[in-house]
Symmetry: none
Subunit: 411 residues, 2 copies
Amino acid sequence: MRAEVISVGTELLLGQIVDTDAAYLSRLLPQFGIDLHYRVTVGDNQARLADAIRTALSRADIVFTIGGLGPTADDLTKETVAEVVGDEMFLHEESAERLKAFFAARGIEMPAANLKQALIPTRGRILANPLGTAPGAAFENDGKVVIVLPGPPREFTEMVDSQVVPYLREFVGETAEVIRSRVLRLAGIGESSAAEKVGDLLDGSNPTVAPLAGAGEVHLRITAKAATASQAEEMIDATDARITAILGNVIFGRDDESLEKVVVRMLIERHLTLATAESCTGGLIGNRITDIPGSSETYQAGFVTYANQAKKEILGVDEQLLSEYGAVSEQVARAMAEGARRVSGVDIAISVTGIAGPTGGTDAKPVGLVWMALAAADETIAFEHRFSGNRMDIKLRASQAALNMLRLHLA
Amino acid sequence: MRAEVISVGTELLLGQIVDTDAAYLSRLLPQFGIDLHYRVTVGDNQARLADAIRTALSRADIVFTIGGLGPTADDLTKETVAEVVGDEMFLHEESAERLKAFFAARGIEMPAANLKQALIPTRGRILANPLGTAPGAAFENDGKVVIVLPGPPREFTEMVDSQVVPYLREFVGETAEVIRSRVLRLAGIGESSAAEKVGDLLDGSNPTVAPLAGAGEVHLRITAKAATASQAEEMIDATDARITAILGNVIFGRDDESLEKVVVRMLIERHLTLATAESCTGGLIGNRITDIPGSSETYQAGFVTYANQAKKEILGVDEQLLSEYGAVSEQVARAMAEGARRVSGVDIAISVTGIAGPTGGTDAKPVGLVWMALAAADETIAFEHRFSGNRMDIKLRASQAALNMLRLHLA
């Protein structure tokens, strides 16, 4: 079974609002073994919408339209679908009564234009909309179906969950296949190196393995098709195990496990407290850690020692080190971590000091040079990094490397 | 001139990442009088991508593709475009050298697969990518053009701004109509209140004024069409002046002026130094301030005093205040700001303490309650807020309110 999704609305086409509906639907379809091949966005224009529906029906079995079910003159989706599939709609009395009751309850007379919202297909099915005035519809024709859904996200998701899911189950029948996927999240490795290392696995057709560069990290997506969900999961588990055997500790998490989530969990499990001392990252590491609910169990304090004065007075970094080696140096990174650990009385402190740019770089210490350190009871370790990109990239990459340093220390 | 945008990537098609690139481009095109009629998303599949490009070329003059320029086997966009328009690509020596240098600088040998990124069209133009290894390209054929752009948002926006804008200006030539827009950015007011206050202006057809809720702030977008850019700008200026007369100080900036950018500029202009003391925002305020280049001129130090112990020992908050009023109270917010100002020796310190949730709320102090204070030489002021949303929303809204408190103090 192949599907295509058509989102309707000029504000979507122009990028003024984000199309969360289409994303929601896209994530649902694999569960029914339905392949989504195209997603199309058109403005509120009847000719172009009709063209998009015709094209979609020529290459897909199930076409979804999202939006354009309102009462105004530029809401034309249902009329256009009916025209393309040659369906004479009729007035659904129950929906018309619901509409009238909706307006009566608000003490307003129903504008005549609203009545068109109660039109439903002759061949097909109405999809009830408990949260709004515009019912959806499934127009069936020639073994294919066009499923017409409202745009407002709350109405959309309710209709998908309560109406479309059972409809699809019936329409698709017993499906030949189910699709499942899993994302492996990597730190401390680039996209092409990761791809090279798991090279052979990238050629597989089922499961497939695809590399993807995310924000400051690389992802590998494993996707499997099988007759049942448990078979698909087994196939994913096997490929996951093969990749894990190759990449090992470079994999820090799966699916929605961010690096900060993993690190906070490890710290709490080990009953360790944490402090941060940040210079060039400016609070980003503390911010990421405190995005995780429950992080207050481990995270005690953070220091953003942006000025040298602050490094000296707040963390007790020796004046001598700053003047001899400079603020961006192994010595100062170590002193910051040790100072933060001492001042806040925690088990582990991490520090970052670097040059985020765009100015402030020299030949010896270019923009992107970052030193970081970790101070624990028994040792202090330090690492040098050279990151590329603009100020925000360097901050993000430095925060990622610092969290990864902490993860590897805890592992 | 008609355009169509094709976004390439299975992760986009499946809704796993949001297509900010296409939205960025969609907002740009009207400035060149280019109409966007369709946006299409396809997965990493060569046959379907070729089909989408052919369909797009049949109905548009300018086709943009986004994504699929990486070095791996499923990055196929450039090859596919070349095949559809019948262009034999050749190896661009300069780009090949840049690629080799990029890897050499990192001490890694370039994987052979990466060399394909240096292929460029025979008929058309290379679009340089200063921020990445994959150049873009404009494939010209039969009076039409396919503009091939990279997916990573940072590389994409840089290439659009520095390469595509001048290319389009040349390709499109003199257009009959110019569209310009400006965003007024508001703080401390909700979307519906803002819309109500400027109500009459929302009905205009040229310029149009549209309210839009952004991340933690409300925007009003003014859009004008005119024969020339300067006429459009004049129309926008007039509407801007009318809205400013109504909303006044609620407007903190225009277009890309974020609240942190405005605040850092004001502090530097007034030669004032700043420190932050954060509890529930966990470093977010410091992070936002240090996103601004040059912020080190004013920002000296930040304290993330997440634990009560840290509030006492690092900022000198009185044990008595914590036990009598609790960590989330006017008294503790004031003591945190005054402590941060004293410890770091700055002119102004701001503090935030609140309950970001999801747990930790009580009837008296629910999730979303946030106290903030500002300590200056002559006074300390404090404010109470109640924010809704999840943990991240509350952190963001609290940081926005704290920066706005600082802005209004400096105004």
